[in-house]
Amino acid sequence: MAGDTEKALRVLVVDDEKSIRRFLMASLSPYGYNITEASCAREALVLAFTSHPDVIILDLGLPDMDGVDVTRELREKIKTPIVILSIREHENDKVAALDAGADDYLTKPFGMGELLARLRAVMRRFVPTDDAPFFKTADLCGDFSRRTVTVRGEPIHLTPTEYDILRLLVQNEGKVLTHRQMIKQIWDKDESSEGIYHLLRVTISNLRNKIESDPGRPAYILTDPGVGYRLHPDR
């Protein structure tokens, strides 16, 4: 899909389980991905710095080093998108990996469709564009070059903070933003600031009231419990 005509995207798969590497190799190759394998952190770091993959799929439970530390070490030198693929489902693990610089997090077991969608999404976000982000679904349209947001064709008024949050979510469409990342980017504060969490929740709630057709069951701004929020492009 990504590369029938263009050059194949190179994926570095890091997992100590041979069966999972074998499965990923077999399932991703038909979609035009070119797979390189690593079974431990040391090998992964060497390959990441030398062979310059387009995206890294990283397991957290590696034999020689924790995946979160690997993520941190990679982020110090390169910007290659990292998708975490882990058996750990506790939100603390997700937050740790995302805050360390991972671009997405998928828990095992996973569906192939889901993984392909996440890979496409991180690649799309990674391609640098000068254009202001643009978001459009049947009901919601955000044109950030003109600073306008319309719901079912009607323009709506957003406060500057609400606008910034929506814009941030649109820029990271499909990706979970942790509370810490959002607080840092919107208010340039850290999470220990008094009342900042409450402010984030209230702003999200107000934003939902303005853009969602049923704020009680939001369709666009979704909560990832204990982790953060993400914008769902289409349901």
Binding site: Y197, R201, T223, P225
Partner: protein, 495 residues
């Protein structure tokens, strides 16, 4: 001191009897021969002997002879005797008096001994009666100590050999072993022979140590220390103590056997439960694997025979089953974490509306086109909780509501501020839960009568309860009368 005054009073009393008999003799002596009046004094001797024993009786015979001589033998009121034949009467009176006193006092001793035996038997009987009704070790030890201390006014300690360690029970509790006692107690256990005061091994010790023997083994030691310092123990006290030690050993043995029996039964029960559980779990774990391995193997074998539609069908089934298997594994892990107290709470203030919407999102596919009636009005405070766990708990309740109510019936979800926090109420229009099952619904692996055809492991509500209670909240279920089931979850504002 006490003893000697008592004895003196016995002597005085017997003199009183002689005085009485003399008065009677003086009243009637005109009508009787003096020799016949001797009978009165023999009566006095018999009375003294039977009431006060040998000493007073002999004194009575002696005094009787003298008084008889002075009062009734001519010349009266003088010690001299006119007729020598009276000497024989005196000797007779004295000898008969002494013999009677001997016999009577023996009789009396026998009677005393018999009543002492009876008292001991009564003590032992009471002890054994009290012991047979007790069912645990500490009660048995308490009863033994109390009985012995009451009867003998001594200090009692019991040492028990438990799993190779000697433990000491004294004044109602387990205490640490006294340094002086330990070696003697250990010697008694090893040799199964008494030691300490009044025995051949370490007779200098203050206390006596008796082995508690059952059959061929010594289960412990009973130590007894008389409170008053005395030289040795009276023989019958020692016998009584032996008998009590015997009873004590039997009672301890009985309790041990009882406990062993109880443990065996518990073990058997547990084994039975585990077997049933394992059967049910392995069934639930294997069933999805059947579909998955079946599908994969038919894909491997397939030489283009399977039609596209049927291929799709079996693959979809296998995929659904694999998701189910993953859920089962997750539930088993969750209940294990909850029971081990290893649930890590990631506490953050959360919006209750958000919690409910994410929970509904979790069951979106199962919910299908079923109407959900939301009713969240008024000011709902934020609650501090682990949102993903609470979402999981609510999703279990919603899942049950979906599974156990008609396909197109509505599900009602409401939230209200309650005194300590927030009430979240989920109501369905299903048949409800039979009254008989209500008390079991939170038990893990419990499945209701009507749930045969509904897939599930019977863990949902136990996990739910575990999560809610870890948050110091509570979950209530009301059901019955065909009016559906209402689940109320109370979450406090802060944990």
């Amino acid at each position: 001191m006490l003893l000697s005054t008592k004895k003196t009073s016995h002597y005085l009393l017997s003199m009183g009897v002689v005085f009485l008999m003399s008065c009677v003799g003086l009243m009637i002596h005109k009508h009787f021969e003096p020799t016949n009046l001797v009978m009165l004094y023999l009566l006095a001797v018999v009375i003294s002997a039977s009431l006060w024993g040998r000493g007073p009786a002999i004194a009575t015979s002696l005094v009787s002879v003298l008084v008889f001589d002075v009062l009734f033998v001519p010349p009266r009121f003088k010690f001299t005797v006119a007729d020598t034949q009276y000497i024989l009467t005196f000797i007779g009176l004295f000898v008969v008096g002494v013999m009677i006193s001997e016999l009577a006092s023996k009789l009396r001793e026998h009677a005393l001994e018999a009543s002492r035996r009876e008292a001991q038997t009564a003590i032992l009987y009471r002890l054994s009666r009290d012991l047979t009704t007790t069912l645990n070790l500490t009660d048995v030890l308490d009863i033994i100590c109390a009985h012995i201390e009451k009867v003998t006014r001594g200090e009692v300690k019991i040492y028990l050999q438990q799993e190779g360690v000697l433990r000491q029970w004294a004044s109602g509790t387990w205490t640490s072993l006294d340094e002086g006692d330990e070696p003697i107690a250990r010697w008694v256990v090893e040799n199964a022979r008494p030691a300490g005061a009044g025995t051949s091994h370490i007779p200098s010790a203050n206390a006596r140590y008796l082995p508690l023997k059952t059959g061929d083994q010594t289960v412990g030691v009973l130590s007894y220390c008389a409170r008053e310092l005395r030289n040795g123990m009276e023989r019958n006290e020692s016998v009584l103590l032996d008998a009590m030690a015997n009873q004590c050993a039997l009672a301890i043995e009985r309790i041990r056997l009882l406990e062993e029996n109880r443990n065996m039964e518990l073990l058997r029960e547990r084994e039975k439960l585990y077997t049933t559980l394992l059967n049910s779990i392995s069934h639930d774990l294997r069933t999805p694997l059947v579909a998955i391995t079946g599908t994969l193997s038919s894909l491997m074998e397939d030489g283009g025979i399977l039609e596209r539609a049927s291929l799709r069908e079996i693959i979809e089934t296998a995929f659904e089953e694999s998701l189910r298997l993953n859920n089962i594994v997750g539930d088993l892990l969750d209940i294990t974490r909850i029971e081990a107290g290893a649930l890590r709470l990631n506490l953050q203030p959360c919006d209750v509306r958000d919690i409910i919407s994410v929970s509904l999102d979790h069951v979106r596919e199962k919910m299908g086109r079923r109407p959900v009636q939301m009713d969240i009005v008024g000011e709902i405070p934020e609650v501090v909780c682990d949102m993903s766990l609470i979402v999981k708990a609510l999703a279990f309740v919603l899942d049950n509501a979906i599974k156990y109510s008609p396909v197109d019936s509505p599900i009602f979800v409401s939230a209200r501020a309650a005194e300590p926090g927030v009430n979240i109420i989920i109501r369905d229009c299903g048949e409800g839960i039979p009254a008989a099952e209500m008390e079991h619904i939170f038990r893990k692996f419990f499945r209701g009568e009507h749930s045969h055809n509904v897939p599930g492991l019977g863990l949902g509500l136990s996990i739910c309860k575990g999560i809610i209670e870890t948050h110091k909240g509570n979950i209530r279920i009301e059901s019955g009368g065909g009016k559906g089931t209402t689940v109320t979850i109370m979450l406090p504002e802060t944990v």
